[in-house]
Amino acid sequence: MKLLSSLALAVVLSAAPPVIDELQPRGAQKGRPFKLTVVGQYLGEGAAVLSNLPATFTPLGAEQGRMAGRAATFLVEPTAEWEVGIYPVRVKAPNGVSNILLFSVGAFPESTEEESRPGALPHQNDSIEQAQTLQSTAVTLNGTLKGPERDFYRIQAKAGERRVIEIEARRCGSAIDPVIRVYDAAGKPVARSEDDPLLSLDARVDVTFPREGYYYIEVHDARFSNQAQNFYRLKTGSYAYPAEVFPLGGRRGEQVEVSLGASKARVDLRTAKGPQTFVNIADAKALPLPFAVGDNPEVVEPVAGALSLPVTVNGRLSKPGEIDRYELQTNPGDEFLFELQARELGTSKIAGLITLYDEAGKKLASAGDEPLPVDVAAVQASSRTLGDPYLQFKTPEGVRKLTVTVDDLARRGGTLYAYRLLASRTGSGFQVTITAPFVNIPAGGTALVTFNVARRGYTGPVQIKPLQLPPGVTASGGNIPAETADPLNRSANRRAILTLTAAPEAKLDFGEIAFLATGEDDGRKIERHATGIGYSIGVTGASTQGVVDRQRPLTGAWLGQQLPASLSDPSPATLALTLENTEKKEAGYAFRYRWRWTARNAMQKVPETLGVEVPNFQDLRITEMAVDPADPMSGTFLVTSTRNTLPALYNIAATGKLTGMAAQDIVSPVLTLTVPALAPEEKPANASSAAR
């Protein structure tokens, strides 16, 4: 009995951090108190909601029995005026913080699809004949698409009545890619929307019904996919919404007049922090639209004379075939960075093309139409994606004036073809993204953080370090070697791992950790702050059709977060690596590492093999992994390099999966691994290019 008690205690002490899978409901009418149930795992006693929704979240008692720890309910009461919009929700529990899910505040009364109510039978409204009736007044209906299904709703309309019907899904964190179809009573199609250009992949139709009668709304996923985040919010009513945004952004610290189609708005960026805020019409019923925030001085086309750098030019390709031109003075050797912001902002359709010409009209460089290197990570051609183009440029001899043009690759134009051209006198650089949305560091243990570097002309090594750490927390790793300059392998040397290790007595309630990445190019120090992704919501592709369709997860860089971090309960065991020896081999080096588990109780089983990660290491081979016969908590493995491995500083970490009741992934603190340069006659073929 005593043994069982101590085991139970160990399990309780080792509870994993909270995870949230579902919010019930996914949205609420603004200003109205409501009950919010958070569904997930490890949502035990003391769970609290963290959100920027101005409201109090009062716990209504923990769930008991089967649902204990799997749901927590809160009474939500406004503390200030709510604006129609999207709000992040996460849970903080004594054992750490959860992921973020998004919550939507709307203007209309809320209702729920019948088959989405708890305990309801499925497939209740999968055909026109079974359509669920919607009220005639404005409403927001919360529904779900469980697997490959269609949902039908019936509405009654008068002749000449206008009705906006839209789906909020992608915009509020659902993995559904919604399609709306509207039929008349005879089943004849009246309207359809799939990807409204201003609504991410969400859909909206604006219908004026020709005659009185019943009409049917069909909602389905564009791919009939099966998603974990499978909810949608069907909003219908007669309301106005922003039909365009121009300009697409403004300067931090200023107030900006924005055209939203039929109306204008004044966006206050005086206190803006992140790279993006939102803009909406007055008394909005629809969700706001993204609005970029920058730090350069801003101008709006047409621009008279030469550009004064740095600058952000706000322009628009108003008609098909239009090419916008800007001039700037230069001297040979000047370095420039031109970046286009358009499609990635979610408010422009431009497939951007930046081109540079000299005074004589000779094309010097372009971006947006250049040949693409082979993407080794692409499952198939169609799964590859590209963002807005950028152009790094150094003025050649004899050139004193540059003309930079912006146009659409497919020569399109119109209201929705606006852009922001960021121009600066900047040399080579890079951008760093923290690819982990948040981290829970086990007390006395280690957590892994990953980074991705998007190189912008800079090919040297990068070092990523935290700017400040809570007391008792240390960091290791964060090294990326120089780019291999292999055009066939775009994923090389762009990923970093870093571990955060907390002492048993470390203190961290909840906060953000910022990171700075540094590099050096010809003696010039390059520093970049890493940006966080806020959240990562998985989107699945088809799984049984023989062709894998990779989908990009939904992320929330717009939240402007860095790395939200919290301490969590100690893990059942910790893992550590040490380098035992390094040996020179015929074609490279062999590094023998020892791992050691330290368990919190003697009954803890540990795995006999580990995962070993050494990012960016060409020809990585892990061999001879074996547990010590005399000590099951320890063992060794061998890491070998080849002639293709660039001599550089790498990072190595090991991960092991604990199974059973305390199932967890445990990671070791990162060690550095230095691959020495080979003797001249042993140099790999690409060593010279790597040295650049």
Binding site: R150, D195, R223, F224, N226, Q380, A410, Q545, D549, R552
Partner: protein, 723 residues
């Protein structure tokens, strides 16, 4: 080769030896035909892609300049002994004086030997392309008609050169029959009539060709044409041909057979039992109610689904190329086009000129399967013009006028088309500014400007506000284009008769003539007159008596399979067959990752339900745009699947299926038998069939025996075929 080089080569050799007594011999006029005739330039010999034993000639001698240079300069010119022509390798090899892998090609005593000997002796002159090229090949007689099989006809082939000279080339010409079991080519050349029917002879000489139709009539006495009602111009043209061939068409199919056939052909679905009962009970005149039914079927959603599958096949709508969302989007675009009865020329124009995001304009997915200019051009010509250009990529087309130059000229229309990933997964941007976009000729890397397939003396001038694709689309869908409307009229016809008037439908060429040119011309004109309205064309076809003719032959048309004198039973295609099983058994098919009520004809692409019933029964994988990808054969694995497979066995025993419903509704034995016959064979059972089936049902466990009966009906030819 440059003219100067040719001239200098000729001069060098001319200086070596000249036999004044012999007639002048040139490579172009005299030697190249010999190389082609004796097989040196054939595919298995030196015309192979990599040549043979180190010696490469152009396939079938399509490039005489290349062949001349190969002969002169390969082996450092050692193929000729100018002092002693007889010791030249070019003569020693084919006469096997030295070892020759190709064996003996001609004797030393032959005329061919003498011609080549003289050519070498005269200094291997190339000839004058302005004079020594064949301008035309003429064949006498131009048409062969035999009153019965067993007769023989002789041919004479003459070549007319550019300088006006005419030469008998009967011996050197190549003559082939497209149907050797009707007309066989014997040495001589003598044409033997083997059996009743029609064939076409293809006569080729030096890149020029001519076709000769051969007809062998039925000698049986007693034929008297019995005129049948003609519903429209189709019947007039078919009757005219049949009357000439002494073939009496079959009578009209009965109403039930018509309803089954027209439902399958227009919608890919069997008529439901209630629909059959209502149609049979309709007291209106048969032709009236048939016309009404045709209109109803064309207006149905099933019609749209069915033709969406057809065009999805041809346009390669598949997630392998388009990703999941691209496939759904492209299918939607095709479906919308069919539902709206978009004029065919407009639909094709949209496909060819689409640009921008494939999310916004799904027609742009047309370019994503083939991606590169050359395969895109091949697809465009094959699907929309019925012309196969693929051979001409490497050499001039062997059986058609198309040259390698034309291949690259046509491909140049697409050479600027670029595809670039978009921001969303599965999205690509179609644009016309691809860097380094000029089409280069493989022979000399020269830039090939775009030029339309039909010869035009003036170079293509593309207005500044147009792209090359715009210009191509304008030309391609023009009513003046001799291929465009004809190709689709022929293709659509084939879907209703099981074969094209030109067959294969995507291989239109002079050497593959239509079986009824007047009919094809009339269909084409009708389509043009109705502004490419494909629904009108289909309606006209299925309203014709020819379409509604019974599959039961008579004594005069039993052997005819080409002239539409009776319906030809066709195995039901994969998707309609699976949907037919579902209707017959009253059971839903169970496809993964699509909504539950999805029919086989509504599937987005062939990756859904892959490697199952549909693929076994010939659903195309959409790897190419060839009609040949869809198989409608009947094989042993298919038979075994029908007998033992899950699809049939589970459908028959479905707890919500037709048998269960009949039993639970208390249907009598006779009523159940009638329902099963209507649901499978689309007709009422005969009294004998009813008696036999009722007897079987009452002989044991009724439900189980009813399932047996349904299983037997699903395995019958009456179910598997459209007739």
């Amino acid at each position: 080769m440059r003219p100067a080089l040719l001239a200098s080569a000729a001069t060098i050799f001319a200086a070596a030896h000249l036999t004044a007594a012999d007639p002048p011999v040139t490579f172009l006029r005299d030697v190249a035909p010999i190389l082609n005739k004796v097989g040196c330039t054939s595919g298995p010999c030196h015309g192979a892609a990599k040549g043979k034993n180190g010696f490469k000639l152009s396939l079938r001698g399509y490039d005489p300049q290349f062949d001349y240079e190969a002969l002169l300069y390969d082996l450092s010119g050692r193929r000729f002994n100018r002092a002693e022509p007889g010791r030249s390798l070019m003569l020693a090899k084919p006469t096997q004086e030295v070892a020759h892998g190709g064996g003996l090609r001609f004797e030393k005593t032959s005329d061919y030997y003498k011609t080549i000997y003289n050519w070498i002796a005269q200094g291997v002159p190339y000839g004058d392309p302005e004079k020594d090229i064949v301008a035309a090949v003429e064949v006498v007689p131009a048409e062969i008609a035999m009153s019965k099989s067993g007769e023989t006809a002789q041919l004479k082939v003459t070549a007319r050169y550019k300088d006006g000279q005419v030469r008998d080339v009967t011996r050197e010409a190549t003559i082939e029959s497209n149907t050797p079991d009707v007309a066989r080519v014997n040495p001589g050349p003598a044409i033997n009539g083997e059996r009743i029917g029609e064939a076409t002879l293809l006569v080729r000489y030096e890149g020029k060709f001519s076709t000769i139709p051969v007809t062998i009539l039925n000698p049986k006495p007693g034929f008297a044409w019995k005129a049948l009602p003609q519903h429209n111009y189709i019947d007039q043209h078919i009757d005219a041909k049949l009357q000439k061939l002494k073939i009496q068409p079959s009578a009209l199919a009965d109403d039930a057979a018509f309803l089954r056939r027209v439902s399958l052909d227009l919608t890919g679905q069997l008529p439901a039992p209630d629909e059959i009962r209502a149609f049979l009970a309709d007291p209106a005149p048969s032709r009236t109610k048939r016309d009404r039914k045709i209109d109803k079927l064309i207006a149905s959603p099933a019609f749209t689904d069915h033709w969406t599958v057809k065009w999805g096949d041809l346009l390669q709508s598949s997630r392998k190329f388009l990703g999941e969302k691209g496939t759904y989007g492209f299918r939607e675009w095709i479906r919308d086009s069919i539902a709206a009865n978009k004029p065919y020329d407009k639909m094709v124009r949209e496909l060819l000129t689409s640009r921008g995001s494939t999310y916004d304009d799904p027609a742009g997915n047309f370019f994503r399967a083939t991606r590169d200019p050359k395969p895109t051009m091949e697809k465009t010509t094959q699907v929309f013009l019925g012309v196969r250009m693929v051979c001409a990529q490497c050499h001039d087309h062997p059986f058609e006028r198309w040259t390698q130059n034309q291949y690259y000229e046509m491909a140049a229309f697409f050479s600027a088309v670029g595809l670039r990933p978009g921001y969303e997964v599965g999205e690509e941007i179609v644009y016309d500014q691809r860097a380094d976009y000029e089409m280069k000729h493989p022979k000399d890397s020269r830039v090939v400007p775009p030029q339309f397939l039909i010869a035009s003396t003036a170079p293509v001038k593309i207005p500044s506000d147009q792209t090359r694709r715009d210009a191509l689309a304008e030309w391609l869908v023009s009513k003046q284009n001799p291929f465009f409307a004809k190709a689709v009229a022929n293709r659509v016809w084939s879907y209703f008769f099981g074969r094209g008037i030109i067959d294969p439908v995507d291989d239109i060429r002079a050497s593959n003539p239509p079986v009824n040119p007047a009919l094809l011309e009339a269909l084409t004109k009708d389509l043009l007159d109705h502004n490419f309205d494909l629904q009108h064309l289909m309606r006209t076809i299925v309203r014709s008596r020819a379409y509604q003719t019974s599959f039961v032959p008579n004594e005069w048309n039993a052997l005819d399979a080409d002239n539409f004198s009776h319906a030809l039973p066709r195995r039901v295609a994969a998707e309609p067959l699976m949907d037919a099983v579902a209707l017959a058994a009253g059971a839903r098919p169970n496809f993964p990752e699509v909504p539950e009520d999805t029919t086989a004809s509504q599937l987005p692409d062939p990756h859904v339900g892959a490697e199952g019933f549909l693929d076994l029964f010939g659903r195309p994988s959409r790897e190419s745009s060839c009609e040949c990808e869809r198989r409608t054969d009947l094989s042993l694995p298919q038979a075994l699947n029908l007998i033992n497979g899950k699809t049939i066995s589970e459908a028959v025993a479905d707890p919500k299926g037709r048998i269960a419903k009949n039993v639970l509704a208390g249907a009598s034995d006779a009523a159940m038998v009638e329902d099963l016959y209507l649901a499978t064979l689309s007709r009422l059972p005969t009294k004998a069939e009813t008696d036999s089936a009722v007897k079987y049902l009452t002989g044991g466990a009724r439900t189980s025996r009813a399932q047996d009966l349904l299983w037997a009906l699903l395995n019958s030819k009456g179910f598997l075929y459209s007739y």
